[in-house]
Symmetry: C2
Subunit: 394 residues, 2 copies
């Protein structure tokens, strides 16, 4: 049988990152390619306690079918928390629990983007989201990321050139992969442009709670008086990614359509894990937990940047970060970056080639992404030493 | 802001069943409209034991990111189990863990069906799957269900009339909503026709393990020497629906494309619950658990049919079932079925109007679906008494 796939997916390839994970599974390889939380960052004791409690107290509700909107107490508590801590969400919004933030991209694509319509992304941007948009045959248009976020002149050019643009996709805090945080001024400008051109914004904020230095910048969603921002939050980086619990705060008419799409997608998100997240954020000191995570990652990020200074200069330069899990590194233009990354795997170190994060993977790129949250300090030192020595030998 | 939704979803409505659930949430209403497993059917003690064990032994693996294909031991054990018990799956197939079987329909639609292409369904069929196909702008063509399954002459007519048909969607065992089981002869015929017309089959089998009478009929997938059947299995009816763990056994090239689509959909299924399902089917006596479920449901199904005999004749007739969770009931043609169902809600009983399960909801229909797994015996008696008295008063 010769299989005929749909037009949407016939050119879709497995995520380059997930392919690299296959090398990374070799225990002799130092993987700087992941985006996993540190093993030290999981509240495992609390999760085990809560799980035992909810299974003892109300096992049927925890294991039975539930509603597509998500567990009502979790939705209520999250809405209150996001309003109080981040002025995010209003009476015109509602909150939907999703199976990871990846599902938010899927539901928004399905509900809002016809085949051939445009999604404007940062270039570079998170490959997982780009692939989801691609899987709906959306056309991706990249806007360069500068040290203070998206180039807003280029954004306006892209909006003018693409009247069929439906979404602007942005990760304003500690962007994956560039590490860049968008300034408040640019957040306001992106919002204004979206409003002017009648385009919705997806604000993807998985790393917002992981700030190690610099000043807090308000969410774009906190500026949303016109109902044009869809906010994506997640427990993956702050409780557990394996549970797949995330949430979107969206204008009510969009929320309602996303709920219908979610019914057809997976009916509802694992309800047991929703109970666990709800108890964790309400009965435990969630803000103290976040402070502990910041402490862990501040150390790891500083250590990683010290190692880059020590081993990688002058051939590899990197962009200092204020938060998140990733550091973006540049090679000189005379080094073939994809070849460099392939050779590096043979030296038992994995990084992610930067072109994986571009809207056009064939574009020339001299950067790569490293992650410091998953490896141990020993692995970080070993990996970055090899990385630096190799680059400086070329 | 006036929101413009995609063409795929602009006509998509919330599932009629899930809307009915809102009335059903009123505790004074007897809901015969759900499809939830009986509260007695959950292995809650075992799930709590396993969960505590895996969280103690290997918390990071249970809570960390995992692979899109699913937890490798679970995939291996399921493949072995399905081969041994049901001769289902071959070396040409692979097995993907999904977030409920609903996600299988989503991934197959995305990977295999262009907008405007045809999915052939049983009429009536499971509304959740129909809505997923609709959400990809597939055109649904219904083929009537007879007491021994799909009308295969009409199926061939539909295949001839729709050269752009991509999938035949069938629930061969104790079909939702009709309760019908497809004969072996018809399974072979459906397979032959799919092969002849170059169309793939999705065999959705959530209720296969819940047979209360009659003889076992082999899965269509067990006949699949040509790589044209995608099998959908689920733990929702036999362990817990709240966990959202299901699986598809599909020809390898299709499996690979479904994995890529799943990356963009939700990255992977809740890994904690995958660990729990794996331990439950390997370290506990899964077949004894299934036998216990059959015992519970055989009693409930018989009791429900006795009540229908006692209270509902002559106005309501019903189709005897050999398994599953649903009974399909017919009203005389002079009774307006949708009105009947609406009036019934005011009398505090909920059933699902049969037209909700048709490819065209506006078609005339004199049937409705009832469920006997969720209500208690007391609720069943109270609900069916009201149902029968009301029908016989008309």
């Amino acid at each position: 049988m010769e299989y005929k796939f749909s037009d949407r997916v016939s050119n879709l390839k497995p995520s380059a990152i997930r392919e690299i994970f296959k090398y990374a599974a070799d225990p002799s390889v130092v993987s700087l390619s992941a985006g996993n939380p540190s093993p030290d960052a999981f509240p495992t004791k609390e999760i085990a306690e809560i799980s035992a409690k909810v299974l003892a107290e109300d096992p049927i509700s925890v294991l039975q079918y539930s509603v597509s909107e998500g567990y009502a107490p979790l939705r209520k508590h999250l809405a209150e928390y996001m309003k109080k801590e981040h002025n995010t969400g209003s009476d015109n919004d509602d909150i939907l629990i999703t199976t990871g933030a990846q599902q938010i991209m899927d539901l928004c694509s399905k509900a809002l983007v016809n085949e051939g319509e445009v999604v404007i992304c940062e270039a570079p941007s998170f490959i997982g989201s780009l692939n989801t948009f691609r899987s709906y045959n959306a056309k991706l248009v990249g806007v360069p990321v500068e040290p203070d976020g998206m180039n807003t002149e280029k954004l306006e050019e892209a909006l003018k050139a693409n009247p069929n643009a439906k979404l602007i996709y942005t990760i304003p805090n500690f962007q994956n992969p560039s590490g860049v945080t968008m300034s408040l001024e640019k957040r306001k400008k992106v919002y204004e442009l979206a409003k002017k051109y009648g385009v919705l914004i997806i604000e993807d904020n998985p790393y917002g709670d992981l700030r190690y230095s610099g000043e807090y910048v308000p969410n774009i969603k906190s500026l949303d008086t016109d109902g044009i921002v869809i906010y994506a939050g997640s427990f993956s980086k702050v409780i557990s990614p394996g549970m797949r619990v995330a949430y979107t705060i969206a204008p009510k008419p969009i929320f309602q359509k996303l709920v219908v799409c979610k019914q057809g997608n997976d009916v509802h998100t694992n309800i047991w894990s929703q109970y666990v997240c709800d108890e964790f954020i309400t009965k435990y000191d969630f803000n103290a937990h976040l402070a502990r995570l910041r402490e862990i990652y501040t150390k790891k990020a500083s250590f990683c940047m010290e190692l880059l200074d020590k081993y990688c200069a002058p051939k590899i330069t990197y962009h200092k970060i204020d938060g998140g899990l990733f550091i973006w590194c540049d090679l000189p233009e005379d080094i073939d970056m994809p070849k460099f990354c392939r050779e590096l795997v043979l030296k038992k170190v994995c990084v992610v080639p930067g072109n994986a994060f571009l809207t056009d993977e064939n574009e020339t790129c001299h950067s790569f992404r490293i992650n410091f949250s998953t490896p141990t300090d020993e692995q970080l030192e070993r990996g970055i030493k090899i990385l630096g020595e190799y680059a400086n030998s070329l």
